[in-house]
């Protein structure tokens, strides 16, 4: 089985935010929640870089470790998913997540949290594949149709890569060799305990 990962080549990202929009539209993500976001570091200064970030589907995922109800599970493709039927909206996965991926729709007043929502790697949830119930809670299940996550598939500069970790790491290495530079695979050390030599 493949070990699915995301890789954002920050030297290619042009901060067009199409990945953010595509994700929101594809899954009809609830109001106020963005499963993916583009962050620009050193904005307007020399050497600024933009990074598209969502759930990295970590190895030994901290969210799953701290969840008090064991709502998380890891698929055979190493995608970290969760069940909204088991989630109680306590907020612990948000404290533990190194990437700020878990978000909660507001229910009621103040900050009361509803069921957690996060990137599913376009792989839905525990419900049967591509059912109305699954779509309602988690969005489409592209992985079950043999397609990769939409954000990476439609990235205009192919900055955002999704797929088997070894293959996308190889693509990135080739790019770095060819152009002679690369600012690294952002988040890989934290998420997968590995870096790609650049």
């Amino acid at each position: 089985m493949a070990r699915m990962k995301f890789l954002c080549d920050a030297d290619r990202c042009i901060e067009c935010n199409a990945c953010v929009t595509a994700c929101k539209n594809e899954h009809e993500v609830p109001w106020g929640i963005n499963r993916r976001r583009v962050v620009t570091i050193n904005d307007g200064k020399p050497g600024e870089r933009s990074v598209s970030m969502a759930c990295m589907h970590c190895t030994d995922a901290p969210c799953a470790a701290v969840c008090p109800t064991n709502a998380f599970y890891t698929t055979a493709d190493a995608v970290v998913l969760h069940s909204k039927d088991i989630c109680i909206g306590c907020g612990y996965c948000f404290y533990a997540c190194p990437f700020g991926a878990p978000q909660y729709p507001r229910v009621g007043n103040f900050g009361s949290r509803g069921k957690m929502d996060k990137c599913t790697y376009c792989a839905g949830g525990p419900e049967a594949d591509n059912t109305a119930a699954e779509y309602d809670k988690y969005g489409t299940n592209r992985l079950a149709e043999g397609k990769l996550p939409l954000c990476a598939e439609m990235c205009s500069t192919k900055s955002l890569l999704a797929g088997d970790g070894e293959i996308i790491a190889q693509i990135y290495k080739e790019r770095v060799t060819k152009r002679g530079y690369g600012s690294g695979a952002w988040g890989w050390q934290t998420a997968y305990r590995e870096t790609i030599a650049s």
């Binding site: 050497g47 909206g89 306590c90 907020g91 700020g100 103040f110």
Partner: protein, 337 residues
């Protein structure tokens, strides 16, 4: 002639060329042969080394999503999964075991000389109401809090995922909403009893002679002895700490960012499990540990012999008030002599 002028032209030309050549490197440095855009680019490992987080600007209205990486989440995970659980198990199970051993060896502390049959008012209706409101909230808050920390290991295998979620969801709401009466209770406890809980010389003597449930001696004590004063300040300070840290977690991003919430959870967790351990001792003394203690908060009255044994100075003071025609001052507010 021609050769001379040609030579001069050659020398001048050579000098001019040399001059231009000497100038050119400065001009050429602007456009090196190979471009390296990463020379000035931000580096992830450098940012992580400096701040242990990567933060930038985001076009979404949600400004806090500008933090893209905070590896401190992994440290918090270790605290929550390992450190907090050990502190909780050692303090709570440890105190419960100590109490059991203590009860088996010592048994219930009896009233010396038996009951006199005469009672004296110890806590009025308002005091008892505040105590039981806070106590009821505390017990539910403690169970729901311990469920979040230990339920996954202890209850989830027994209940199954669906039932455990329904139970935990209910407890989460109870935990959130009962925090308000609990906080009000802690504030009222602070205001109501602060006058009789200031440590003084009598407490030193009480501690020196080993008063309370551990020793056999019954040194004189006022309305509250040194042990009770300790419980009082643990409730006020501990209750204040869990209330402040709890509200920071309940209202995410109102008061603090993600690092602040991790810290608030650490304070909330550690103070709470220690609080539960201390309260086990308080409940023990107030119920099976000491004869005649429960009725102080139950009916509000205590036997006179009990009062003589445990709060001799307070009893004298009460008796003095009763013998007077009209006692004016409230007992709690009167300084002891």
């Amino acid at each position: 002639m021609t050769t001379l002028s040609a030579r001069i032209r050659l020398v001048v030309g050579a000098l001019a060329l040399l001059f231009i050549l000497a100038l050119t490197p400065a001009g050429n440095a602007q456009q090196p042969a190979s471009v390296n855009p990463t020379a000035a680019a931000v580096k992830e490992d450098q940012l992580l080394r400096e701040l242990n987080r990567v933060q930038g600007r985001v076009t979404l209205p949600d400004a806090k999503s500008g933090v893209i990486e905070q590896p401190a989440g992994r440290d918090w995970q270790r605290f929550h999964q390992v450190t907090l659980r050990w502190i909780g198990v050692i303090s709570i199970v440890g105190v419960a075991a100590l109490l059991l051993v203590f009860y088996l060896t010592r048994g219930m502390v009896r009233i010396e000389g038996g009951r006199s049959g005469r009672v004296i008012v110890r806590f009025n209706a308002l005091e008892r109401f505040v105590h039981w409101m806070t106590a009821t909230c505390f017990i539910i808050l403690a169970i729901s809090g311990l469920n979040i920390t230990f339920g996954k290991e202890l209850l989830l295998p027994l209940m199954g995922p669906e039932a455990f979620t329904a139970w935990s969801q209910t407890l989460k709401y109870l935990h959130n909403y009962l925090s308000f009466p609990f906080t009000i209770g802690v504030v009222l406890i602070l205001l109501m009893w602060v006058g009789s809980n200031i440590p003084n010389e009598i407490d030193k003597e009480w501690l020196k002679r080993g008063g309370g449930i551990i020793g056999d001696d019954h040194p004189p004590a006022e309305h509250f002895n040194a042990g009770q004063k300790l419980i009082y300040w643990i409730v006020v300070i501990g209750g204040g700490a869990v209330a402040v840290s709890g509200y920071l977690l309940m209202f995410p991003f109102y008061g603090t960012g993600i690092a602040g919430m991790q810290l608030a959870q650490i304070v909330h967790g550690v103070v709470s499990v220690l609080f539960v351990a201390v309260m086990l001792g308080h409940i023990y003394i107030g119920t099976i540990g000491m004869e005649g203690a429960f009725e102080a908060m139950g009916e509000g009255t205590v036997d006179v012999n009990w009062a003589k044994q445990h709060h001799s100075l307070w009893l004298q003071e009460q008796m003095a008030h009763q013998s007077q025609p009209r006692p004016k001052a409230r007992p709690a507010a009167t300084p002891a002599e």
